[in-house]
């Protein structure tokens, strides 16, 4: 079955490859690659990001392009097939000679692209919150690291406003992001004095649809008399049946709140949220945040997609920030040469859509604000808490012993993504 599936996806992708016209590189254009799945399981999330990049390119060209040249987006479809991500990245860099790639969603797709961009010295902008524990010379991570999402969310739940939670269920889909995040959270919770008995960890397969047992277990776990919360790293399609089961078994947010790291406006659009009011999500962006930048962005998005109902979400903002930073860095460097642009990226500032300023650090991660929101009946997230300023992302979590020793800093004297001591000494 698996073989058949990947074979078929391959065929399909091959067909779509032919349809994407590879226009001849003219001297008056700068090409950027868009590497998001447009078919297969991840199309559900990634299609939106492809549209976001196209919108940004369109906008840039309307305002005179970049370095006096037109920008052209080369869209390829890696079809939710991880090895195909690497092939398509190679094609973008070698054949289309793109100046930068905007793409990937799942960590496994990023890991598959990583050796390619490092070998061919390309630039990848990765716009999704992820588990951290990585810093590549050729990747800029504009999504949240665990300390910009998971840790603040847990802090909030431990606070008075969050309900002073004492017992924790860490529920996730069984793959690298939830496993790493939960490992970080578990050791963080223990450092805050939570007993091992008060933590329940649960993993489910991708697309898990029968949540009866797990939801009943959560109820049982919560009946011990201490305030309980669920920290959910459940990904993608499994969320809808999970939330439906929660609602049907009568779990209310004021009894057992669920805080999710992979559920945003886009995912909520596919769920009837009336019974989910009060459950939480932690992100660096909510569509409901009022600011002039956000209003303009939402309007631009509705105009571009010609659909006033399309929602915006956090990975879109991360794409927006990444694209803006790249254009600013290119302008500063006066060239699209990868080394020059990389140097110009450090310290590059872009206004967040939610107010404040995002800064690119030398560990290739951003400093961004964190928001905790409650789900509303209309499918939007209402901010109930936010950080005072911005939080700087840790590429390596201090809560995992092996990674606490490592430093990511791509400037002198470190010049390294995972070193225990600087590369250059004296």
């Amino acid at each position: 079955m698996k073989f058949m599936r990947s074979l078929g996806l391959g065929l399909l992708a091959a067909a779509s490859m032919l349809s994407v016209s590879s226009a001849k590189a003219a001297d008056d254009t700068i090409k950027v690659g868009v590497l998001h799945s447009l078919s297969g399981t991840m199309a559900i999330s990634e299609t939106t990001l492809k549209d976001t990049v196209l919108m940004m390119v369109d906008d840039l060209n309307k305002h005179g392009g970049l370095l006096g040249k037109k920008v052209e987006a080369v869209v390829v479809d890696p079809a939710s097939n991880w090895p195909l991500f690497a092939e398509k990245a190679r094609e973008l860099l070698e054949k289309d000679k793109v100046a930068a790639i905007f793409g990937c969603w799942t960590s496994v797709s990023r890991k598959s692209v990583l050796p390619v961009v490092e070998q061919l010295d390309g630039l990848l902008f990765y716009p999704v919150q992820y588990e951290g524990e990585e810093s590549s010379r050729n990747v800029f991570y504009t999504g949240a690291a665990p300390n910009q999402q998971a840790i603040p969310a847990v802090d909030y739940l431990m606070s008075k406003d969050g309900g002073e939670v004492k017992r924790w269920v860490l529920a996730g889909t069984d793959y690298v992001y939830p496993r790493t995040t939960n490992k970080i959270l578990e050791s963080y919770l223990k450092s805050k004095g939570v007993a091992a008995d008060d933590i329940m960890v649960n993993y489910t397969p991708f697309g898990h649809s029968d949540w009866q047992t797990i939801v009943a277990d959560i109820k049982k776990f919560a009946s011990a008399g201490k305030k309980t919360a669920v920290v959910s790293t459940i990904n993608g399609d499994a969320n809808v049946p999970f939330y439906k089961e929660l609602a049907n078994q009568g779990i209310k947010a004021d009894q057992i709140p669920v805080v999710a790291f992979s559920v945003g406006e886009e995912e909520l659009a596919g769920i009837d949220t009336k019974n989910l009011v009060g459950h939480l999500a932690a992100w660096n962006y909510f569509e409901s945040v009022k600011s002039p930048e956000n209003t303009a962005f939402i309007k631009q998005w509705h105009d571009f997609t010609k659909n006033p109902k399309r929602v915006t979400n956090d990975p879109m903002e991360a794409t927006y920030i990444g694209f803006k930073m790249w254009t600013q860095a290119v302008q500063q460097a006066g060239t699209t040469d990868v080394d020059a642009v990389r140097q110009a990226m450090y310290g590059q500032k872009v206004k967040n859509l939610t107010g404040g300023v995002a800064v690119m650090n030398t560990n290739h991660h951003l400093s961004k604000p964190v928001f905790i929101g409650e789900i509303q009946a209309d499918g939007q997230l209402q901010t109930v808490w936010k950080t005072n300023g911005v939080i700087k992302a840790d590429a390596w979590s201090p809560y995992i012993p092996e990674s606490a020793k490592l430093t990511a800093d791509w400037t002198y004297p470190w010049v390294c993504g995972n070193c225990t001591e600087p590369k250059f000494k004296n």
């Binding site: 199309a43 898990h208 649809s209 049907n248 078994q249 596919g270 009837d272």
Partner: protein, 525 residues
Amino acid sequence: MLKLVLALVALLVCSPAYADDFAGAVRALNADSFSDKLTAADTLAALGDGRAAAVFEAMADGRLYATADGTILIEQSGSYRDAVSGATVAASDAAAITVNNRLRGALRAAAGQLGLLNSDPVIRQQAAESMLATPNPDAADTVRKALAAETVPAIKALLSQAVARLDLADSDPAHRLSAIAQLAASSDPQVRGLLQPLADGDSDPQVKAAAQKAVSSIENRLGLIGIGVNIFQGISLGSVLLLAAIGLAVTFGVMGVINMAHGEMIMLGAYSTFVVQEAVRALLPPDYFGLYLVIAVPVAFVVTFAVGVLLERTVIRFLYGRPLETMLATWGISLMLQQLVRSLFGASNREVANPAWMTGGIELIGGFTLTYNRVVIILFCLAVLLALAAVLRWSRFGLFMRAVTQNRPMASAMGIPTGRIDAATFGLGSGIAGIAGVALSQIGNVSPNLGQGYIVDSFMVVVFGGVGSLWGTLVGALSLGLVNKLLEPYAGAMLGKILVLVAIILFIQKRPRGLFALKGRSVEG
């Protein structure tokens, strides 16, 4: 909170004369920060005005609005009334007052306490139930007072349970002992949670022994209930598997077509449900919304039946007897259907709302909630299976169908239009998959990938149960569901699934034709 209790006492003594304070306190609810709102709610509760209960309920549900000039309105099914005067008003500029979980919890508790002293027994019962669910030491005096004044036996029983729970923390060992005696017969996991600290280390040895005994008897009962719960969940999972597999039992089981597009028929059924839902939303008044599901069943059947017949006539009939090519062709079709739906409806999930009669559940003993949607799906699935069995057994079409699959040349010689029967059979299998899609849209995603999640399970059920046997499919689905759910608490969802898969592989090695193997010539043919 102390203020609140005092106020409730005051309420018993004297009632009105707070009109102006009440209006002011209600206005204060529209504060800027959550903590200010909390303070305002405390102040309002402290007034002890009975009208506050409705305000608290509305605020907790997000139905409390504030106009630009600060008037507070309660929204009830689309119309607004003034929270203070009760007059109906038109509110165009009103904005909802936001709440967070902490505030919501405090509001519900306050409303519950006010509700305990309400004159309406229905409201009192609700308040007593919520008091039981979330024991609140601050409300102890109110609960005792309400118990003393209560006349309705059912509410009295609830309140005395609530008092017993509060008494567990009493300083007098005799009180604790009598509370334990009263609670020992409970099957509520929450009671166990309350008794556990006493059993672990109460200062009084007698209390400690009694608590230990009570905990172990509750645990025994909970264990038994747990088995019952697992069996229900197993049957429920089995019914979902069965629903997904019945259509395949026809196309693969009866006709022998390795139909990889089966999952996409389920998906088309789910999208038909979505379209019907949108149409009902647009055309019928909201009261009839729950009906959309009933309309969706025939619509989904007709749509997928038509697609099935079209597929059979244009592709599959040329591939009979060539399983490998059939598999590749139907698999290609499944990809095409997915992409078609993706282009028509978009890649993201579509929202299919559960009608009111399929939302929620009833709380049975031991914290076990029987959810309505699961019950409906079990019944629906049995109905579909019985209807299909009846069609195959008693209808003329069923007779023809069996004749064609058992001996095609002979059936043809008897004048049965075999080609048309083939098309109709494939259509029937697809149509049933479409109906399954209606039901599955109620418990999961409606996305272009919906079918992919069910295709492997469906094949597993049909092969395990025995190709060609409807009853085999039934037994296969239910036993897979039960084994899965009985394993899950011990092995976890991931390992449980793997164990079941390994068990099936071993089983198929032993009995290649599944549980209920067809015997006779038709097998060879």
